[in-house]
Symmetry: C2
Subunit: 203 residues, 2 copies
């Protein structure tokens, strides 16, 4: 056994949708273990003066069309346009950090992204927030109380600091044995990298 | 027969290497015709205040590592670091426009990128410039005289204006029946799109 692959992601990043929805199946098929690591990509992008699409209308339009095409290719339901940016992005990610600590992060992340992209309900806001927590088998009242404690905010901040130390600059990112892969298009390469390590082959 | 796919590219863009080297084989296999359209991506990026990697050292480092990994995956020889940015990028692209008009653009583009990435000779400068023209079966003296005429510069400018009208914002881009695909990672999707059109299937 080697270390699991780290999946660094921020709810609120549109391209992250394609990774969240496809990662579990692809990782399972390859026999690669995944550690879900929510962080605040937006904070790092502001720091690096590199907020994608912010003042780039042409690129933003392209992004949505690109996501729509890729989702169709992968059979993922999407109903554009969807609310963007998310008004309560931090809330969505504080819950994700808590979920990661308790072991129900994939179920929550998948549920909230599906509601955002297929039902047009913004992640981090009601009803998406509570319904996604419920879909992950948890009690919204208990989870939201904890997510709104200072501890959850500090945990998200600590994870973001860790991401920065590793050299992560955007979501989604994958780290396999110290090797960084960025973007949903690198999902397969990252899994393959880890799979080769697990098999004892050079990357 | 449908219209060919348009391959919009600028010599000088590192990621374009992966498209230039792989496009001919993939297009041929799919039976898709390609029109090579050199343009000045840098000019459009300056205009849009969106010069990639310029003041983003972390992302630039990642880009080179990413290209290196992808090149290895595709069996393309690369010896990093290579000279970047290209000091005579415009010269490289004026020759490309001329080559596109005369029908020897793919051979020239492939030769100049190979020399840049495998031999560390900057495209657009000697010896890369003349040797790549020769590899494409042309006489460097004749070509360089024409490429340095005002006509070639105007042709490059006109192509860049056309790219902008279409909504292109970076290199490499592919346009299949008005559908825009951006980046080397969309090469296969673009070819598939055109291939489905040629077969009379919806994209």
């Amino acid at each position: 056994m080697t270390a699991p692959i780290d999946f660094w992601f921020s709810i609120g990043s549109p391209y992250t949708f394609l990774a969240v929805m496809r990662l579990p199946g692809i990782a399972e098929k390859a026999g690669v273990e995944v550690r879900w690591r929510p962080f605040n990509a937006h904070a790092l992008q502001i720091e690096a003066n590199d907020v994608p699409f912010a003042d780039k209308p042409l690129k933003a339009d392209y992004m949505w069309r690109d996501i729509e095409r890729r989702a169709a290719k992968f059979g993922l339901p999407v109903r554009l346009p969807i609310p963007y940016p998310l008004p309560e992005m931090e809330q969505a990610n504080r819950v994700a950090v808590l979920a990661a600590g308790e072991g129900w992060c994939p179920a929550y992340a998948i549920a909230t992204y599906r509601r955002w992209f297929a039902d047009r309900e913004p992640s981090g806001s009601e009803p998406n927030l509570s319904e996604s927590i419920k879909e992950a088998g948890q009690d919204p009242a208990r989870v939201l109380e904890q997510a709104n404690s200072g501890a959850a905010a500090r945990a998200l901040e600590a994870a973001t600091g860790e991401a920065k130390e590793i050299g992560i600059f955007g979501s989604p990112s994958f780290v396999a044995d110290g090797e960084l892969f960025w973007g949903p298009d690198r999902l397969e390469d990252a899994i393959e990298w880890q799979h080769n390590l697990d098999q004892g082959n050079p990357g």
